[in-house]
Symmetry: C2
Subunit: 320 residues, 2 copies
């Protein structure tokens, strides 16, 4: 019998789930959710304990009519105390709108796949880095306190290009940190990551970015999103993107089953004793509401169907 522990991974005590449903979720569904419903979504998510929500994207409305009301939705989110409402901005013009709206954080996607970057934005990754430099300059010149996060997408591979070299991801992380952005995140928008890849790439990027690597973004395309989160947790990551009802996907990832599901992620974390500040009953009620708004669209997730384990319910009662 061995006398020393065989292996016990260290896990963080507290984790933040950043809700991506209103942006990464809705951008990939055909249904246009009315502004009033989005505001109800944000209100309910806030009541459930969510404190970071990506509310939309400052892209041309003709490209994403689902998100045309982002300015209005952001304005509502900014009325809720302690809520960090972020917006995605694909280019300098979007960044200017985010600065004008005093968004607390703007997320700028940067594809590590040369081919995906060209297909998506008609720019090479280095041209996007140059744009990011200008966004940071504009932010500084404007006096706005908007934080800039760069989300490195296709960080684990790409449906167009195939393999993406980890060294290229690390190079781009260095470049945007040198450009003065506040934080970076790593995204597997196409569901190519596995837990071993997550361990290796997050470790490499942590060596360069330290605590400026703030978030992991996983899609459940091949069922590995929660395993990938678990791998990243072991490296000390404490923030993950997720979508209510597991909606979303990527237009370049056919058959994709969407982002990791908020409710399932909240369950896994709670089961492991990691604090999220989230109220499970409210999350499930919100899920049902969102699924109702998106009738005919694919939704995902397990816990809404199976319910919580009896053991967790008993724990909750005993804490009440």
């Amino acid at each position: 019998m061995p006398s020393t522990p065989i292996f016990q991974p260290a896990l963080p005590r507290q984790v933040t789930i950043r809700e991506m449903g209103l942006r990464d979720g809705l951008q990939s569904v055909a249904t246009i959710v009315p502004t009033a419903a989005k505001i109800e979504w944000i209100r309910d998510a806030y009541a459930a304990g969510e404190r970071e929500i990506e509310v939309g994207s400052f892209v041309p409305p003709r490209l994403l009519p689902q998100l045309a009301d982002t300015g209005e939705v952001l304005a509502f989110a900014q009325t809720l105390p302690g809520l960090r409402a972020s917006v995605l901005v694909p280019n300098l013009k979007g960044a200017q709108r985010a600065l004008e709206a005093s968004a607390e954080l703007m997320l700028v996607p940067l594809s590590a796949s040369h081919a995906h970057s060209l297909a998506n934005l008609r720019k090479t990754p280095d041209e996007v880095v140059a744009d990011i430099v200008r966004m940071r300059e504009e932010r500084d010149a404007s006096g706005a306190r908007t934080l800039i996060e760069v989300g490195i997408s296709t960080a684990f591979g790409c449906t167009i290009q195939g393999r993406v070299e980890p060294a290229e991801v690390v190079r781009l992380v260095r470049a945007v940190l040198d450009a003065g952005v506040d934080s970076v995140s790593l995204a597997d928008t196409v569901g190519y990551a596995d837990p071993a890849m997550v361990s290796r790439l997050f470790e490499q990027v942590l060596r360069v970015a330290g605590d400026r690597l703030t978030c992991g973004h996983f899609h459940d395309t091949r069922g590995l999103a929660l395993a990938n989160v678990y791998a990243a947790l072991q490296l000390g990551m404490t923030r993950f993107d997720a979508c209510t009802a597991g909606i979303g996907g990527c237009p370049h990832a056919p058959g994709a089953s969407g982002n990791v599901c908020t409710e399932d992620l909240a369950y896994m974390l709670a089961s492991m004793g990691i604090e999220t500040g989230l109220d499970f009953d409210r999350l499930l009620a919100l899920r049902a509401k969102v699924a109702g708004w998106l009738q005919g669209e694919a939704t995902h997730g397990s816990v809404w169907r199976s319910g919580l384990p009896r053991t967790m319910k008993i724990q909750e009662t005993s804490h009440a």
Copy 2:
């Protein structure tokens, strides 16, 4: 920048997936799959590289008519060179049938939940341990080479009893090893386990059982099965049960989504560079066949829908 590795888990090089679809899968669906189809299933699984298959259960046919042909199915499986065909035996009579049939391995379930054991078998766990002693004695007396594996079910909690103490699981593992069984496995038949629980309980049991803890059995009821496998891999576990198309469940776990899916598990392992000896195209073709036989029954899994990543396809081509 830290100079030492932050964290890199060690993973095994080779893992065996033991197919449970013909037993744990079929026992919980209403459809009765004809014997000829089961034989086709085993033939195709063998051709796909599977070398451990649980082919049925020696229970009274009136309880599980789906598995009434277990003797015939086992006899076919025994004709395939190098295939370890196992059967589940719930009691001494089943064990006698397995010995008569010269099964290579019999799996005896032992519920760590007192309440579940009573509900399922009308026996306490210690009464089941006493039965297992008699099975081992009969095995030894018979001269048969049938291995005895005890599967500790409800090892992570129970839908009837709620919490199951890890100390009780460890006590039962000691008891059956003292009784002379060849191996033990830990099963989360109700989907209550999370990766942190898996790390802790597998470590505790490994301290008692060492390499006689041979297998992990996870259900995907709440979406955590693959994360749980990943946690167990980090402890050096090299054998996992799985069901083609993720079928199966537990009559005491309403809404359960079934066993971890063979194809998805095979994908996760292959993506991480862990050898399974399995041919992915054949696994997917078999999945489609099984789903066809089980029309109207719930099937699960992600990879059959999304396909393999482009990166994996390229790898396969370059190896060809």
